[in-house]
Amino acid sequence: MMTIKRTVVLLLLAGLWGCTNNLTVVGDFPPPLIHTLPKSIGVLYDDDFRNYIYTEKSEDRSKWIINNGNAQVTLFNRVLPVLFNHVEEVGQIPSLDAPAGTDLVLHPKVIEFQYSVPRETRFKVYEVWIKYNLSLYDNQGELIADWIVTAYGKTPTAFMQSNEEAMNAAVLVALRDLGANLSLGTPRVPEIKAWLQNHSASAQQASLEG
């Protein structure tokens, strides 16, 4: 009797799990075709970022669990080595006592993740919005710039494509959008632009005096 009850409970749980869309985002990104900044950078991927999982908590919506941590780290690791002349991972934000071995340190954070599926809108597309907060420090831990980057991606529903495949494609488009923003937008952030100008000028001045 006990075995039957257990089996029924297990079957119910399996049924519930079957209703959940469980996705680990998988994909690759091309290297950007951009100028390399003559600076080195350390990047801090904290556990929240590296293992980022979005879980839909609303009971009015279909249940989605989206693991995007690995894919977003892959994107940053694809873009940063082209944007800067040297990249390494660091374990903490630098300080006066523990300065970084690179010119700059970047600390990315996910602050918002949203999606919509065709059932919720009248458009037959899956959409994803991700909002990132990027903090850039100098090698002594002084904050140079703190800015927001948004990523948006959508993909049309396609015949014989599962919900997970369509959502995966939408997240990858959003991450490509983030990569485009990062590649083209980072040197244009006013504080970073000023810092780069100051540091290239001071470097030139120092080399002239030397």
Binding site: F29, P30, P31, P32, L33, I34, H35, F123, K124, V125, Y152, K154, T155, P156, A158, V173, R176, D177, G179, A180, S183, L184
Partner: protein, 228 residues
């Protein structure tokens, strides 16, 4: 038995009708693709309400490259990846003069030139189901299973292709394709789909028209060959 099978196969392979209307505007009469010049077909993805389907772009590229040695097509995915991030939905040039902005970067110009691109074809639009009606019910029992009912749905395609001359940086013209069709699904024990291939027909018609646009000589040669 074999007769029944043949009837079933004939019913399955039956297609509903689609009507396609093609319009062409040609700004320059002297367009003629030359040997060694290549074409890339790209989909517009900037609209909030729809997305030009990647499979439509692949289909048009296939039609362009089929049955001729002159038109060589670079795949959309390969081109967009090689030029990342300059042809993404938010960064792609919307007008031909916007190309100047990205071509100021020597590495971008060099990469495009490496593909021997002469023509860039931008396709914008989508296919959508405009209405549907009817219902089909299926049931299963000890004696067997079966479906009964009737369903119908309408689909419409609306695409526009803009053709740019990459070497001269000018817009050469536009081709639009509007297609519409109604699909039917009667079910008497077995559902028999009579599908109107609206997107496929729009793709084939637009692909054929772009082919003629880029290589009008081909039509002259074919007509001359046919009149002999």
């Amino acid at each position: 038995m074999s007769e029944r099978l043949l009837i079933l196969l004939a019913l399955i392979t039956l297609q509903a009708c689609t009507s396609v209307t093609i319009d062409e505007y040609k700004a320059s009469p002297s367009v003629q693709i030359e040997q060694g010049e290549r074409v890339v077909v790209l989909g517009r993805r900037h609209s909030a309400n729809y997305e030009t389907e990647p499979d439509l772009i692949t289909c048009i590229a296939e039609v362009l490259g089929k049955d001729n040695d002159l038109i060589q097509v670079v795949s959309e995915r390969e081109f967009v990846d090689a030029l990342y991030p300059w042809f993404e939905p938010r960064t792609a040039p919307m007008r031909v003069r916007d190309m100047n902005r990205i071509l100021t970067r020597a590495e971008v110009a060099e990469r495009i030139n490496g593909y021997d691109i002469r023509y860039i074809v931008w396709v914008d639009g989508n296919t959508e189901t405009t209405s549907s009606s009817g219902s089909i019910g299926c049931s299963i029992g000890a004696g067997g299973a079966g479906c009964f009912g009737f369903g119908t749905w309408d689909k419409e395609s609306d695409y526009e292709a803009s053709i740019w001359d990459y070497q001269e940086l000018e817009s050469l013209g536009q081709i639009s394709a509007d297609a519409a069709g109604t699909s039917y699904m009667p079910a008497i024990v077995v559902p028999i789909p009579l599908i109107a291939r609206v997107q496929k027909n729009a793709c084939e018609a637009m692909g054929a028209q772009i082919k003629t646009f880029l290589n009008p000589q081909d039509i002259v040669i074919k007509q001359a060959g046919g009149s002999k």
